[in-house]
Symmetry: C2
Subunit: 364 residues, 2 copies
């Protein structure tokens, strides 16, 4: 029960609302692949379960799981979390899940982008990705929501919107040769305009240093609300992230959103460099064709990779001296919400964070 | 999102309504196993799709499919039918799906019986059946409905209720040594009373001749409405079915329902004996531990194995001279419904019929 429409959201008066707008619920996927998650996925599963539990205090959560993990996921998750079979190659619902759009009259539909594991045969992170590619459709089937099949390789983590006509993205990711090399920037922007129904796309040059997603915006910057952006930051000029964040800051301060507002940009200082430890690297299977996890590699740790849910924000923490200050800064930016920190190192070890493993389904 | 309750429906004021009462929708499973369905399941898939399409004219239909058949099922089914991943060993949603119960105040819950493939290691039809055993829970998860786990081996096809306190079943099946040999008839009846919330269980002695389910009642007799029963019949006294139907007729006419009503019993003449043809038997894989499909075997063909949906009844036909008279008789019995005949030989070849492959979810 999901009709695939040949029109676009823009043609039909549907648009992607801001993540900070009311949700009907949250979708997640359950981690397991032992070539990405250490120790057979058990530490990550505990971390994902904690995220699901935190969100479920505020809104319904659905966890998609592979068949062979159904019983284990059902057991590790509280009964409030709905568990459904959805085959997946890995656990990044932000990136392979649908982008939901609404029409302001109760209608909700989903955009199903092409997915190629963050770069396909050029620089994708694993092979194959056929189950991931089908996740969006399966979510929409379960919810009986109609579907736009967008002819564009795109992950949900590479875009943010303010729900008022502005899309935030990075050129590093969307123009990466592993995504849509046959399309020009203008053509890609055209698809964003049609499928997100936005008026203006803000192209930040680059994402976070060493981010294996080719620089997803959701690790770098996000809308707190229309006109207000949070940006990962470091004061350390010797850190390669400094140049990237400064460049993004200058770009964001020099532009305006779709409604002509200058953007308020709030810097959230990153944690100190987070490196993969030898015992962490040793817990991961080596598999040809999967990005290896090597001891000493720096991970793209950022507090910006948090998730808005109804009345709260779930923010990754790293056991780092900057944790407290990041939580406080975010709490000041959103006094109407409860800001909740959750230890997220085990999620980060898999290559992303709390925002990457969640996908909001807006209220119709 | 499915709480498992330690109480029983009877304790909580929930009961199983009649199948002829209003539905929220219908659940089915998609056939594929090549040791039961000939020609890789393709003819059966077309027949199941026709059943789904017929029901979907009247109420929402959800098809549970194994992962490897998702794309094919999605393609063969109309978009109105919802397709979801639900791993299964075979396609009998009636028997492994939940029995839904309601409380008359909008509440709907599900009873999850034990399932052992119609006889377990004693005389079950295949091994293993672990996916089937989990189907009911997965259906309830998707629907966010709470669950009663009944400590009893039982298939949905072995019971019918009138929604007014009466349960119809067969002793042949429920007392079969492959089901609950450790329980007495009284103990089994106690579970039916608790989990279906009925007052009276009518134990018909035997089901249909050569029915591999050990005589499920749903192939023999059903409630058309409270007080009115339809019964498969043959006038041929040399047919081993005659004795079984006559015995059931005499039993039903000699008893009364939970409200003290005498039962009106309508005979629906069966088709002529339906035998497996050599080319049909040849299309099925031989697999150790699976009931073989042998040319010349008589199948348990019955018009009673039909399905009520909102405003209609979907009735199997066999290309038999009795088809028309059965459809007319059923139409006379339910003038308020549209009686729709569908060719069902390909379903029968798998060991059951339209009622066996459907499960109603009542309106709350």
């Amino acid at each position: 029960m999901s009709f695939t429409l040949s029109s676009t959201p823009r043609q039909d008066g549907y648009w992607m609302p801001g993540e900070f707008e009311p949700h009907a619920g949250t979708w997640m996927l359950w981690p397991q692949r032992p070539d990405n998650w250490r120790l057979g996925g058990k530490p990550a599963q505990r971390a994902f379960a904690a995220v699901a539990r935190a969100i479920a205090q505020f809104e319904p959560v659905t966890m998609g799981v592979n068949l062979d993990q159904f019983a284990n996921a059902r057991q590790m998750l509280p009964p409030q979390v709905r568990v459904v079979e959805i085959a997946n190659n890995d656990a990044w619902m932000r990136d392979c899940g649908p982008t939901f759009v609404i029409n302001g009259k109760g209608g909700v539909r989903g955009v199903d982008w092409d997915f190629n594991a963050w770069g396909g045969l050029f620089n994708g992170l694993y092979f194959p990705w056929d189950y991931d590619q089908a996740v969006a459709q399966k979510v929409l089937e379960i919810e009986r929501l109609d579907r736009y099949k967008a002819p564009l390789v795109l992950e949900g983590g590479s875009i943010h919107v303010d729900g008022q006509g502005t899309c935030l993205t990075t050129a590093e990711c969307l123009l990466s040769p592993g995504r849509n090399p046959q399309l020009s920037q203008d053509e890609i922007e055209h698809y964003l305009i049609e499928y997100l129904n936005v008026e203006k796309v803000l192209w930040i040059p680059r994402g976070v240093f060493n981010d294996e997603t080719s620089g997803h915006v959701d690790n770098l910057a996000c809308f707190i609300r229309p006109g207000v952006v949070a940006l990962t930051w470091t004061d350390d000029r010797t850190d390669p992230q400094h140049e990237r964040s400064a460049e993004a800051y200058d770009f964001l301060r020099s532009t305006s959103d779709a409604r002509g507002r200058k953007l308020e940009v709030h810097k959230i200082h990153q944690p100190d460099p987070v490196l993969i430890q030898p015992e962490e690297a040793e817990g991961v299977d080596a598999v040809a064709g999967t990005l290896p996890r090597q001891a000493g590699d720096r991970m793209a740790a950022s507090y910006i990779n948090f998730y808005f849910c109804n009345q709260a924000a779930i923010v990754p923490t790293f056991g780092d001296p900057h944790d407290g200050q990041a939580l406080e800064a975010l709490q000041r930016l959103m006094p109407e919400r409860r800001v909740i920190g959750l230890p997220a190192r085990e999620i980060l070890l898999g290559g992303g964070n709390i925002h990457c493993i969640t996908q909001q389904q807006p209220k119709g």
